[in-house]
Subunit: 320 residues, 2 copies
């Protein structure tokens, strides 16, 4: 029955002449089981475990109260479910917290792409005044004062004096590379299980391709890792321009991943869009110049919800 429906739907689409656009579906790739691992930061179980401890370690912050996991909160898909990040002193930062889930597949980190690797990214929020507000050398000193960290860093890095910024970043990045979410309904569909997506989600996927969303949201995490300027309510943020000073990149932000987007509301660089329905309509209007109908929007949201994968599961670290 479903197969016949699918065949009929495919035929309609071909008749409507959108077959070439549907071919863009080839831009969809199931999420790989393992994230790319850089040559200079091999993964080991002990390094991942150390990185997990550091990710949850409030003593890396100036207040000893805020850890990476405070804003990249596992209960909210490694985000904070508020418009703009809160941090040191409960001050509000300028941007919405991006998820760490599958960030290992991005070519550039942060909304403005100012870090190339997870290693480079990891040290930013520790130092930022409105985030963890700690000097890196003080964070390193703190860790050196905790014997269990000394022995763990030694075991992991095999160096005489292993607690240093570079290794702190490497351990956190190694842990973050494990935060991937395979086997979403979308992935299972791509791998051949045509039952994995509802008809509504399948219609949404066809629309996602036909309307051109896939032009930017493609590849394993549905992001081109490139920059686009979209008019977002209330945002005056210069985005990529703050990094490159390139006039053409004013207000441009790196395309966010859509994986687990259901878990990472609110949306846009300033978190001004509270739900997926509004996010889809906004992107239709501002990115594609289209007014999407209620039905189209609903179908698209159904598709977007199929991008929620298996969440990472692990025991809390018990910190020394």
């Amino acid at each position: 029955m479903r197969i016949r429906l699918y065949a009929a739907l495919s035929l309609c689409l071909i008749l409507l002449g959108i077959a070439p656009k549907l071919a863009r579906g080839a831009d969809f790739v199931p999420l790989p089981a393992i994230a790319p691992i850089p040559e200079n930061n091999t993964m080991t179980q002990e390094k991942i475990e150390l990185g997990k401890m550091l990710f949850f370690e409030p003593r890396l912050s100036g207040s000893n109260w805020i850890s990476c996991a405070t804003c990249h909160n596992p209960v909210f898909g490694y985000t904070d479910r508020i418009p703009r990040a809160l941090g040191h002193g409960m001050a509000e930062g300028p941007r919405n917290t991006p998820t760490v889930l599958n960030a290992a597949f991005l070519n550039l980190q942060f909304w403005d792409g100012r870090a190339k690797t997870l290693e480079e990214q990891a040290l930013g929020p520790i130092q930022a005044g409105v985030e963890m507000n700690q000097k890196l050398d003080l964070a390193v000193q703190t860790l050196k004062g905790i014997p269990e960290y000394v022995s763990r860093f030694k075991r992991v890095f095999g160096e005489e004096d292993p607690i240093k910024q570079e290794n702190l970043a490497k351990a956190i990045a190694a842990f973050e590379r494990t935060l991937i979410t395979p086997n979403s309904p979308f992935d299972r569909y791509l791998q051949g299980d045509k039952q994995a997506l509802s008809e509504k989600a399948q219609k949404g996927m066809a629309l996602f391709i036909k309307k051109g969303c896939v032009d930017c949201h493609a590849g394993p995490i549905l992001s081109d890792s490139d920059f686009h300027a979209i008019i977002v309510p209330g945002s005056t943020d210069l985005g990529r321009y703050t990094v490159t000073k390139n006039e053409a990149e004013k207000h441009a932000f790196r395309t966010p991943t859509l994986r687990n987007v259901e878990l990472t509301a609110p949306y846009m660089n300033n978190g001004s869009v509270p739900d997926l329905d509004l996010a889809v309509k906004l992107m239709g209007r501002e990115a594609l110049g289209l007014e999407l109908s209620e039905e189209e929007t609903g179908d698209m949201v159904s598709f977007l919800k199929s991008l929620t994968g298996e969440q990472p599961r692990f025991d809390y670290p018990i910190l020394p």
Copy 2:
């Protein structure tokens, strides 16, 4: 060999005439596998799961950023490893965060015992201006706006309009009753495994009894749930007096549990004592009028570290 040593040690103690004090060892009780469950809040798996979600739920706070788990942080034995609690606006509260681990065995909650039950306790920090800073009716409204909570509360409480303060408290308390830490070396020793404690820890245990620590730190969680005034550096806090206005209870605080005390530094009502070594010496001096030697202190610390039990293990809740 160990048995002979033990027999010899026992004989020495009897010869020294301290056998009557050692009989106080009978005040030691292994941690029960299940905490007492009140008749009006039966435990079900679904209620525990809901309570876990609420314990990790930042949207119960005025800022949508702070949850019970922020200060009762699982990585630090359900405390925050700082002297005095931080909360809303990152303001500092007046007291050290007590652990939730095994709190289900206490007869009175909070340092000043102002709540009798976990249910009564649970609603306090949500409202406190220096903690989560939220009005309870707003917290209830927030939950009512999240469909998954509506259906979960209905399933758990079987009521028409189940999201209310009372049930919020009941669910959180039900989860907290699962936060117990059995099978510490101390428990295994009490249950007959004489190898479970090192000789140093056994000497510490004997001292703990002989010196009189056990007069207040007895029972399954090594607390008499009673109030005692101890001079603590820097503390001007009136403690139990703020609840009872009883002059005799000025500066008195409820005896804290010693279970998992290794994980819950710093110590005392104002968190002014950074480590166990200093805590043991301070208590010897102020509570018992004794100057403990370095060796005695070391033995006692060894014993206290044997009170660390198996930590609760569970997957993070994924919040709706």
